[in-house]
Amino acid sequence: MSKNVLVFNCGSSSLKYRIIAMPGEAELAGGEAQRVGPRTTEPSQIIHRSGGETRIHTVVMPDHKSAFVEVMKLLTATHLEPDMIGHRLVHGGEVFPGTVLLDSEMLGKLRSVEHLAPIHNPPAVALVHACAELYPAMPQILVFDTSFHSTIPEYANTYPLPRWLREDMGIRKYGFHGTSHRFVAEEAARFLDIPMNELNAVSCHLGSGGASLCAIVGGKSVDNTMGYSPLQGLLMSTRSGDLDPGVVMRLLARSGGDASAVEQLLNKKSGVLGLSGSSADIRDILESGANDVSGPLRTTKDVYLWRLRKYLGSYLAVVGSTKAIIFTDTIGETVPEVRLAMCADMQSFGVELDPARNNSVGFYPRDIATDESPVRVLVIQTNEELAIARQSYAVFTKTVVSGGIR
């Protein structure tokens, strides 16, 4: 029997939602509540898509709970009743290693992971509480970005730090973007017509903001370039990525020990923005600095592409018998230059990109490797909301339908 999954993807001041009929995967309605929170110069509004129409509703939404109430009003007005709610949470820490059906005990534990992702987790946790309060009988499923990475082996998730830090403070690699990496990996397995547990791949989630690579062996994540937080790894739009610990300490000393100032610097004013001094969007840099032989735009482009290439090599070495490299999200799906810089001259790994296919992807999913290439290079559109709907439905059918609900 078809079930309607209402998927919420909570931003710090936004609430994206979709209602998807499962298992058919038809999207019934969707939209985004914008400027949720304290009043700004522009009014808060909901952009609602339903039945081929898009409408803008201006409503006051001082918090995510009120945004939720308004979204429910729009849905019930068109007789779209959800059977369950699937939430996206950025960080589940060690408390939530996998996707779960919410119960009262977990609701209490949720507060303990809020601080792990200080920008994203608190509004999402508040939303979960609001849903539980207003619709106590509605099954709620929590899908964590960290959960796909719970299979990263100990030798890859351990930082060489004193035991008390690792154990008492939970300092280890968690990895992020897991919902997206899992989704495109499943799509890749389907495209290659192999079972998920036979998929060996490197997944490249290259967003216009955050970005990470994921090494996948037997369908399971074995490493992710992000770490304890989403700051580690690749050069991102405003995040520095990897940085010498000695440099971090110098910056800390220079700011008089003000850790939050350094956190701001490394998360908001570094990366593509910090290096270029002009834009946080790598597409701007690739376009405007295309012919520069030197200067900040050229440096930004070179550093961005070089670090991607090195990490791709690292993960190809980890995966070994790779079947596919997967490119996804805004940059991965739409910028051929990035894919070319990463995949050119990589025959020693078995990767042979077809430049013509790379330049004219046209449709998704698309294989842009040469016919002879032992490793396939796939461009796949990510769909985190659908991924959450799939996982929610799977947990729901397993626990609720089989009578496991408490």
């Binding site: 770490g227 800390l252 004013k269 980890v318």
Partner: protein, 349 residues
């Protein structure tokens, strides 16, 4: 020719005295807890004087761990070099005066012997910008001189010297291990950073970690930067994961359960570096092990080879391996021997 090879470190001076014709070490040792470098050199001169039938050093080679961005890899000491070193004092107020003191002592004790400086970081001075640049504000990095400069340049230089194939993956197994990719003699990638903390974990150093962790130590545990520095420099690395006294060599060779996690983490990080180096060069012709634990490469190499054998390539390309077992002091003296000294420069005292 007799070479006196010196490696100064904080309050210690290591030396090796050897003959470049038969490559035999005549005497060697380490002077520690000395008052001045003059005293230290006197102690060494005493050891040299006890060598029978010996005319004394013909050349002095000194390893210098900094300043590589201002000097090419070697410099024969003369007045100009000395004045350039003087100019560097503000940037390295502890190291340069100590080196100048040592040079002065050499001038007093061995006034006719040419002194050759070998700059450790010079090998990485022309590291490509894309590799040396950190992902932070450009002006800030410039003003604080924050750039990747590598650490064990002398070992990588020795690993990729004359006769080496084009694409070398150089694995230096010192207490602070480092992997570099060297193409046609020039470095294109290195795990070490602007300080010895970045890159692979060392015997007591943390290596690459999420920057947020450091900020969490400051914010949540209220640790000061000196405490954090101590924690990451002395209490981390392999000793934090296994037997606290195990060296890189022991960790890589041991099958002991107490070092399992340390070994697995170190090997895994090396595999990541090997993959990055392969991507950086488009392939690897040879893997070269160097450093005082170079022989542990015999355990590491089969493990790496087994992993690289899984690549689904259409044509296989054999990867060679080689071991540079010379010590740092030996490499330093070899480099010093290869330098042409036009005239014997006298150092005024």
């Amino acid at each position: 020719m007799n070479i006196l090879s010196l490696a100064p470190a904080y309050r210690s001076l290591q030396f090796e005295y050897l003959n470049d014709t038969d490559r035999a070490v005549t005497t060697s040792g380490k002077v520690e807890n000395f008052g001045t470098h003059g005293e230290a050199l006197e102690t060494i001169a005493g050891a040299l004087a006890r060598v029978p039938a010996d005319h004394g050093p013909d050349r002095i080679a000194i390893r210098v761990a900094f300043g590589g961005h201002l000097f090419s890899s070697v410099a024969v000491v003369d007045e100009e070099v000395l004045s350039r070193l003087h100019e560097l004092i503000p940037g390295a107020p502890l190291h340069i005066p100590a080196l100048l003191e040592l040079l002065e002592a050499c001038g007093v004790r061995y006034s006719d012997v040419p002194v050759v400086l070998i700059f450790e970081t010079a090998f990485f001075a022309d590291l490509p910008e894309r590799e040396s640049t950190y992902g932070i504000d450009g002006a800030l990095a410039e003003s604080l001189r924050l750039r990747r400069s590598g650490y064990h340049g002398i070992f990588h230089q020795a690993a990729s010297g004359i006769g080496a194939p084009d694409r070398i993956l150089s694995i230096c197994l010192e207490p602070q291990p480092e992997v570099a990719a060297v193409m046609s003699g020039r470095p294109v990638m290195v795990t070490g950073g602007s300080t010895p903390l970045e890159g692979l974990p060392g015997q007591s150093t943390c290596g690459e970690i999420d920057p947020t962790i450091i900020l969490a130590l400051a914010q949540d545990l209220k640790l000061g930067t000196e405490q954090i520095d101590l924690l990451l420099t002395h209490d981390s690395g392999l000793r934090a994961l296994g037997d606290p006294s195990a060296t890189v060599g022991v960790v890589l060779k041991s099958n002991d359960e107490s070092n399992r996690l340390a070994r697995d983490v170190l090997r895994y990080r090396m595999l990541l570096a090997v993959g990055a180096g392969q991507a950086a060069m488009g392939g690897i012709d040879e893997i070269v092990f160097s450093g005082r634990f170079a022989d542990a490469g015999t355990s590491l190499m089969p493990w790496i080879e087994a992993r690289l054998a899984h690549f689904p390539v259409r044509t296989t390309h054999p990867i060679g391996s080689r071991y540079v077992t010379d010590s740092l002091l030996r490499i330093v003296s070899d480099i010093a021997c290869s330098v042409q000294v036009a005239r014997v420069s006298k150092i005024k005292d």
